[in-house]
Amino acid sequence: TPVAAEKLGLGRTATPDEVAAWDIDVRPDGLGLPEGSGSVMDGEELYSEKCSVCHGDFGEAVGRWPVLAGGQDSLTNERPVKTIGSYWPYLSTVWDYVHRAMPFGDAQSLTDDEVYAIVAYLMYLNDLVDDDFVLSKENFLEVPLPNEANFFMDDRADGELKEFAKAEVCMSDCKDAVEITARAAIIDVTPEDAEARKAREAKYS
C-alpha cells in the first residue's frame, strides 16, 4: 500500500555505506546473501573453537543450550527435538542468525566466509551434505531443509475463533461434579519465597 501524505522533512538520507553496515538480513530466496563460501572442513574447526562449548561437539547441546542437530522425525513425539535439521524451514535463517547473533556474547564477530563454513558444517551435522561440501552464495538454494512444507499460516480464524465465539455461555448448573485432575504442588518446581509470605501475613492477617 503506497502512503501519500505530507512530509515533515525530518531525518536525513541514509548513505549507501550506512545502509550496507546495518542491512545484514538474509531471506529464504537468498536476498541479502553476501559473496563468499565456506567448507564443511573449515566449519568443523570454527565450530569446535567457537560453538561447541555450548552446542556440543555434534550439535547435541550442553545443558539447556539449544540443540542444533538431530531429532529427525521427532515432531509428533511426546517430546519433540526441534533442530535445524528436524524443524527449521529455511537455511537462510541459519545464515542470518549465526551472522547477526552468534557466538552468544560475541555477536557479529564472524566473517562472511566463516559464517558460510559454519552453516556448511551445521548442514553436515544434520546429514544434509557430505563432508566435502562447500557452501557458497551460488549454491545456497540447492539444499532445502526437510521441514519447510510443514509450516502454514495462522489458521485460528478458520476453527478456534469460530468455535470459541459463543453466543451464549452456561451460567448456572453447568455440571454435576468437579474433580481436580492436576496439581502444581505435586510437581513442586516453583521457587520458594518465605520472606514474601511473611510480609503478606504481617500486612493482611
Binding site: A14, D29, D96, R183, S205
Partner: protein
C-alpha cells in the same frame, strides 16, 4: 541564611525510651494502661518524629515494607539469565497500570545500555528515500499516548501439559500494561515513502541479539508506535531505552526493543524468531507460523497461590485481570465452585482497546473449599476457552499462545494452589 537538617533529628521520646531501657520499664513507672489497641492508644514514633526531608529521595522508591513486591525468575526455565525471562508480580498489583520497575523482562542478548545521543533509527529497503533519524528528530513528530498490554507469546507456556508453577506471577506474569508515548510508525514510513511493492517491514534491535521480526505493512500502518516513554517517563533500559516498537495486541516478541532499523520489503524474512521460535507445533507435526494476535485471556490474581486468603471467613474480594489482543473486554465471568455456577464480575477502571482490564467479584466466604476460575469475553464475541478446548486443536507442544482458563483450588485455610479440574 538557610538552616537545614541532615537526616532525622533525635527525638526527645527516643531519648527517654533509651533511658527507660536502662532503668526499667516505662509503663511500670506509674502510667495507667489505656484500654484498646496500643497502636492507637500509644504515640507511635512516626506520630512525633520528623520524617524524611524532600531532599532525601530525588527518585522515589516503594516502602521498605513492599520489598517483596518484585520481579521473580525461575532458574530452570532457561540456559542462562541473559537470554531469559522474569515475571511481573501480578498478585501484588491492582488497577491496570504496571509500575515501570515491575514490568517483566525478556531479553535474548541481555538488557543493552544505550546512550540516546548515540542512538540512530534507520528506515531502508523499498522506500523512496532511506532515512536516518536521531532521537531529537523523533521528538519533533506528532505524538500519541496509548495504554497497551504486552504479553510474551510464551506466557503460561509451561502449563500446556498440566499445572506446573504455583502462582499467577509465574503462570501469567510475562505481561505488563503501560501507557506508551511515541510517534505512529505510519508517520515515519510516510517520511521515507513506502514503495507500492512494500508489503512487509523488518524491525531490528540494536542489542547483541539483533532481534528481527517480519510484520505486514497493514499492521505497521495501522496502530504500531515507535515509543520512547512508558508511564510518562523514559523507557527503562530493560524495556528498550531509548526506543522500542509497540505492536498493539500482538505477541511480545514483535515489540522490538532498542529499535535501530526498519526495513521495508516485499516478502517476509522468516528469521529465527518466526521459524525456530514463535511458531506453534501441532500434534500432527505441522506448525503454525505468524500467530501474531494474543487471544482473550484472564486470570484471578487474588486469591492465588502467592496471595492466600489470610482473613478467614466472611466478606472476601476476588480480583483479576483480563485482556484481548483483538479488542476490549466488556465482560468477565467468575466461578467459585469449579464452573458449576458462574457470576458476572464487576469491571472497574478504563476499558481500553488491547489493554488490561480489572475485574472484581465480592463474595461471603463460608470457609469451604473453592475452585476459582475466570472467563473473559472480548469485544469480538470470543469467549476464553478452557485448556482442554485449546488442547483439542493444538495438543500440548505448541509452547506459545496458551490462553486457557486458569483454576485455583482454595482450601479451608485459605491456601490456594494451581490445579486443573474436570
Amino acid at each position: 541564611m538557610t538552616v537545614s537538617f541532615k537526616g532525622k533529628k533525635p527525638s526527645r521520646r527516643a531519648f527517654l525510651k533509651g533511658a527507660a531501657a536502662v532503668g526499667g520499664t516505662l509503663a511500670g513507672a506509674g502510667a495507667a494502661h489505656a484500654a484498646g489497641d496500643p497502636l492507637i492508644t500509644e504515640v507511635q514514633p512516626w506520630n512525633n518524629e520528623l520524617g524524611d526531608g524532600v531532599d532525601v529521595n530525588p527518585y522515589g522508591k516503594p516502602s521498605e515494607f513492599e520489598s517483596h513486591v518484585k520481579r521473580r525468575t525461575v532458574e530452570w526455565l532457561t540456559a542462562d539469565p541473559v537470554s531469559s525471562i522474569n515475571f511481573t508480580p501480578l498478585h501484588e498489583l491492582d488497577g491496570i497500570i504496571t509500575p515501570n520497575g515491575l514490568c517483566f523482562e525478556r531479553h535474548h542478548g541481555g538488557a543493552a545500555h544505550i546512550d540516546p545521543a548515540k542512538h540512530r533509527l534507520m528506515i531502508n529497503g523499498l522506500v523512496d528515500t532511506p532515512l536516518v533519524f536521531t532521537m531529537a528528530d523523533l521528538m519533533r513528530f506528532p505524538r500519541e499516548n496509548h495504554v497497551y498490554f504486552l504479553e510474551c507469546a510464551a506466557n503460561s507456556g509451561m502449563e500446556w501439559r498440566g499445572s506446573q508453577l504455583n502462582g499467577c506471577q509465574f503462570t501469567h506474569g510475562m505481561i505488563h500494561n503501560v501507557m506508551y508515548t511515541g510517534v505512529k510508525l505510519k508517520h515515519l514510513l510516510e517520511e521515507a515513502g513506502v514503495k507500492t511493492n512494500g508489503k512487509w517491514i523488518l524491525p531490528e534491535g540494536a542489542d547483541a541479539s539483533g532481534m528481527t521480526r517480519s510484520i505486514p505493512i497493514e499492521k505497521a500502518l495501522d496502530d504500531c508506535l515507535v515509543a520512547w516513554k512508558m508511564n510518562g517517563e523514559a523507557l527503562r533500559p530493560e524495556q528498550g531505552y531509548p526506543l522500542r516498537l509497540v505492536v498493539p495486541g500482538w505477541e511480545g516478541n514483535m515489540w522490538v526493543k532498542w529499535l535501530r532499523r526498519i526495513e521495508v520489503g516485499d516478502e517476509p524474512w522468516h528469521h529465527r524468531e518466526e521459524t525456530s521460535k514463535y511458531t506453534d507445533l501441532l500434534e500432527d507435526g505441522t506448525a503454525r507460523r505468524f500467530t501474531w494476535e494474543m487471544d482473550a485471556k484472564s486470570v484471578i490474581t487474588n486469591p492465588s497461590p502467592q496471595a492466600p486468603i489470610l482473613h478467614g471467613k466472611g466478606p472476601t474480594v476476588l480480583t483479576g485481570l483480563a485482556w484481548s489482543g483483538r479488542g476490549t473486554i466488556p465482560r468477565v465471568d467468575v466461578t467459585i465452585d469449579g464452573g458449576k455456577n458462574w457470576h458476572e464480575a464487576r469491571m472497574s477502571g478504563p476499558s481500553l482497546d488491547k489493554s488490561m482490564h480489572r475485574f472484581y467479584f465480592e463474595f461471603d466466604w463460608d470457609g469451604s473449599d473453592l475452585l476459582l476460575q475466570s472467563r473473559a469475553h472480548d469485544s469480538t464475541g470470543y469467549v476464553q476457552p478452557t485448556k482442554d478446548e485449546l488442547r483439542k486443536y493444538r495438543g500440548t507442544n505448541s509452547i506459545y499462545h496458551n490462553n486457557g482458563i486458569q483454576t485455583w483450588y482454595v482450601n479451608k485455610h485459605g491456601e490456594a494452589e494451581n490445579v486443573e479440574i474436570s
